[in-house]
Symmetry: C2
Subunit: 321 residues, 2 copies
């Protein structure tokens, strides 16, 4: 069994490869050649723990990931996790890695695939609301998918935004990073807007004119009570993509707009279903939303590709019998 640390992951992960891997996952999702049991939730007073198993022909695996919001007050990441990878045929465990990092890499890559296929090709600016771990990787992948020159960031805490900017500067070359004071300025300045917050009320201005022509990538809301996006966005949307059917059952950003009649549910496109028919984006101005809630198939395929690369490169720590 191989333990792959976060330092090893850094050496292994190539953003384009992970986005390609997510595209492969969308193809498998469409082919139905996998088994993905309903994720299991456990509620504790500290937060939620999710168990996300998935099985393909070659590998099976489980991500266990907890979200304990108060951790931040103690300087500990709110998301903690473990990803276990097994051989499908025998059940033997073959690798372990940090489930929080796998979540960050794969969620970033899902957003990046959204950027690749739902935003116009000449986008040069990204705005990010919410400067957590997820937001960080969303920006990295967005900058990989498009020739981004400017990144605008907003967070309720200025201190967090400053620290975030410092970390981002270490990773992005030739990109200017601006901290903005409000989301109005952020939306105005950005071609692509990424929301990555646990908010229960909209974090973008409820302003049609402002939102028209923007590309939104929303990854925060994964429960009915969670919502990041305002009503007007849905009223100006040309296309609404969801990464999986579950988004329409789980996220307040899809359930509420359909229920309230802001957007016709029949117009929603499931990404895995339409993926092979999508035209390469041109420079046409459309208003789009790509909403992701994720699924364990993403984690499994990303973990598999990382494991295979670790073996190829001789990375990882062998665990004794």
């Amino acid at each position: 069994m191989l333990y792959i640390s976060n330092k090893d992951l850094e050496k292994i992960v190539v953003l384009d490869d992970i986005m390609d891997c997510i595209e492969k996952a969308f193809e498998i999702y469409k082919s139905k050649n996998f088994q993905m049991p309903d994720r299991m939730h456990v509620d504790r007073k500290e937060g939620t723990i999710l168990y996300m198993p998935c099985f393909t022909e070659t590998v099976s695996g489980t991500k266990i990931v907890s979200t304990f919001p108060d951790n931040i007050n103690n300087g500990i990441s709110s998301i903690q996790g473990t990803m276990i990878l097994n051989k499908s045929k025998t059940g033997e465990p073959i690798a372990m890695m940090d489930g929080a990092m796998i979540t960050a890499y794969r969620t970033g890559a899902v957003g990046g695939v959204g950027v690749r296929h739902t935003t116009r090709e000449n986008c040069t600016s990204v705005g990010l609301v919410g400067t957590g771990v997820q937001g960080f990787y969303q920006v990295l992948y967005a900058c990989q998918a498009r020739a981004i020159k400017h990144v605008y960031i907003f967070d309720l805490s200025r201190k967090r935004a400053d620290q975030f900017k410092e970390r981002l500067l270490l990773k992005l070359d030739g990109v200017q990073i601006h901290i903005v004071d409000n989301t109005h300025d952020l939306v105005k300045a950005s071609d692509i807007i990424i929301t990555a917050t646990p908010s229960e009320s909209p974090v973008l201005p409820d302003d049609k004119e402002l939102l028209k022509g923007k590309h939104v990538i929303a990854i925060g809301s994964y429960k009915l009570a969670m919502r990041e996006l305002p009503q007007s966005l849905y009223e100006v949307l040309d296309d609404l993509y969801i990464d999986t059917e579950f988004a329409a059952e789980e996220s307040g950003d899809i359930i509420v707009p359909v229920r309230e009649g802001w957007f016709n549910g029949e117009r929603i496109k499931v990404f895995g279903q339409v993926f092979s028919e999508l035209k390469k984006p041109g420079s046409e101005t459309r208003t789009t939303l790509f909403k992701s809630v994720g699924m364990s198939l993403f984690d499994l395929l990303v973990a598999e590709v990382i494991y295979n690369k670790a073996v190829e490169k001789g990375l990882g720590q062998k665990l004794g019998e």
Copy 2:
């Protein structure tokens, strides 16, 4: 995070300590001061995968364990698993160990606690039906709980029985090990009879006179379709203990006898409930059955005690960031 290999486990595990730990688990079970979600099953064509989470005040953890019967034909253990231990307050993973070994140690210890409290104190012989990994540890713990002089073993495969005897000899001092040709001879010769098979029909003779006065520890059946014990056993039983309430809902060895009227369900004692009131067994001859199906609380407490000892002794492999 600490990885504790099976070699480390060997150095850490003291059978009496693990049995004490199981007794502590029975006390916590009674106090209800824990959270144990329903275990999640996934059925694959190769077998079953179980996800078993549990939470106490100090630690939380998850055992993932698969049972793929055909593995044996490829020289691979049918039971494969991973045990992850986390801090309860933050969700941070603190240790990983082999879930199959934890299962073996804790299931053996549960059987051993059954022997400690439900068999007469002057038992000197144990008979084992089923020479898998579970059976191995059942015998070790039984020999620890009573001054056993003779162990009788039966398996459908003589080759497996021979190999089992060799392995057992390395672990047991001053005990004679006999391979028997049939379970009639095994029951006749043994004070304590342990059944550890995946059988769907009784593995012991349906013979009241033979079974009277015996102490049965049954650990094989965990589904309705699985049964190890014959009707006559229930008709001569003085006491029927189950380790947890789940046994009455899950095991064919409890469900069928109650449904068929072989044993009055109201006479069944849940071990955790009666544990504190049990008298120390004397030399009185009674006919007893202790039926275990296990629960994740056992795994969690055993993993916690092993982790604490590993830290104390400086054992285990530190996993890099």
